[in-house]
Amino acid sequence: MHDALKGVRAHYRPFADWLARTPADRVAQKKDEAERAFHRVGITFAVYGEDEGTERLIPFDIVPRIIPQSEWTMLERGLLQRVAALNAFLADIYGAQRILDANVIPRERVIGNIQFRAEMAGVLVPDGTYAHVAGIDLVRAGAGQWHVLEDNLRVPSGVSYMLENRRMMMRLFPELFATQSIRPVQHYPDLLLENLRAVAPAGEESPTVAVLTPGPWNSAYFEHSFLAQQMGVELVEGQDLFVRDDKVYMRTTRGPQRVHVLYRRVDDDFLDPTAFRADSTLGVPGLFDAYRKGRVTLANAIGTGVADDKSIYPYVPDMIRYYLGEDPVLANVPTWKMYVAEERAYALAHLDELVVKEVHGAGGYGMLIGPMSTAAEREDFRARILARPDNYIAQPTLALSTCPTMVDAGVAPRHIDLRPYVLSGKTAHVVPGGLTRVALREGSLVVNSSQGGGTKDTWVVAD
């Protein structure tokens, strides 16, 4: 929010003014009101490893994160470009594999990746769209330059928080919405439904869409039911579905009803015990066959994980150039690939400055933050990198941008990132905003909710 030289940045001015003229107890009251409302509405997530049924709130911060429209225009262009390239990449590697033949990406990085689904080779998906919903994690660092930190192309979550956070902010601060032009995000479920219907198997005039959830104990169950409700479609579990003659049906009070599109929030491995993990009780036997034959559309497609893997990430700018013939709008974070000898040597010599990540890791686990690590932790990672260089990448420790945040002592800067959601299908869209995650612990760079992160509403405002 603050500019090193000029004080409060212009687009934060209305909120900063509100904060300055509002007594502290009134601000505290707003914060309380938000918390009570979130509890009542039940916007909670389950915590693994705690008692069954433990539900927690993700801390919500009432100070919004604000992005000026001019900056957003650039981000939007970059996001659409990046996701278009990632979809082209997926269609290519499960098809002709031109990019591998052209040696833009080493073949073994793709084919040898455990996220590569050989079963998907030659399967035609509607409109060649694989990642119907993508969550792209962005950070601002240093002098304000945006970077893509990570692509999430499997079952990206968090969009319900984007929507509920906005609803909460409109309730808490109607006057700020009345006096500024804050771009709306609440049409996201409509866009999602439209996108899902558009990718139904060919010839279906009135396709039935359903959301497939692993069930009420999943940490993101709230989001699954929220999206199903917002779209007005059924929320199904594997046990509600069955496959007959390669068609997918749900068990309803009026007998079997055909389903054409599944917005699935179940991982690839668990979708179909006859095709993937046999011990899965979350899936639907025969689903993969129905899918392969084009009788049902899965969103996202099976096998998208290979494109958001951290070992593929360094090649995304090359994909953009290769498929689109354009220069990337959004920069990657510089990345050292540990399987390349000279890059590894550099990283091992600079472990105390770098962040080391597992290529398949997620949720902020399995990572070394050099400047905050102990010598023992660095030695541990050195040994792990040497044992399995394929499994790691290293990046510089970014000076993530901060945003003023309510903490016990008042308002203080905390590090943030941003996850906008990109919808692809017949057309592609990004709603203006996304989920801003904030590291609530002082100095922490880890924004994941499983590790003490909170969320903020994200405002795109006219310049």
Binding site: D240, T252, T253
Partner: protein, 318 residues
Amino acid sequence: MLSRTANELFWMARHIERAENTARLLDVTWRTSLLPYPVHDLDLDRAEPWEVPLVTSGTATLFYATHAHPAADAVLRFLMLDPLNPSSIHSCLKAARESARIVRGAITSEMYEDLNTAWLDLRVRDYASIEAMGVQAFCEWVKMRSHLFRGVTFGTMLRGEAYDFIRLGTHIERADNTARILDTKYHLLLPSAADVGGAVDYYQWASLLQSVSGFEAYRKIYSDVITPRRVAEMLVLRDDMPRSLHSCMNLINDTLGHLCEARNDELARRAGELHARLHYGRTDEIIRQGLHEYLMDFLERVSDLGDEISRRFLVPVD
């Protein structure tokens, strides 16, 4: 709609209704226990006033597994808060709220938030805090939460299948409950007991009527002293009395009528038959048959109906 969703809605409604009925029972037992009449003066087979809510709710066996004597506070704890008693108010609200969470897309946000608020309030309560607020105040709170939820449901929900399954759940549970409440007092309708009369008798009947919100209605309808025969008529046969068996069967029959499409549907036929018995039944015949036998037969048929609804709509077998 999904069968699993319908099942959760059906049980959500049943659990809320059960919580309300338990609160009603406890409320009335509490009030009766404040009266100066020793109950054993009536020469009833059940001399313990706090055993009545246990028997009525069908939880006596479970209670005696861990308790020797039905003392007031033991029964209150057991029926209000015991998480190991599946019929306690705590267990019922917890189950109802969990069902609502699972199918929150099928109900309105207002309904979910209302039920969730009730649960968030209840889950932090212990017996000491209930004693502090007062047993009656707590029972009233439970009843009001149930009324509120029903009102929110009535006022916000699309009239579709989801609404139908909620209504089915509510009325199957209510029919079951009214029949049980009446049955615990059936001995008062025996010819030998018919002439007992007097103040004790009056309070016994008055409390039974209060437990089904029928006391004021009785006065309006009959403008006369309370007689066992009229109580039976009112709670079994009158269809303008919202907790009567007839009234519950009206709703169940109507709802099943449009859920079952086929004309010769067996489920609709059974509901229709049970409804007709109430619609065309006469008080004299019920008394002659014996109220207890009549109610036992009714309970069995309602339970069958619940099972059949389950097989047909909620947990279908392919």
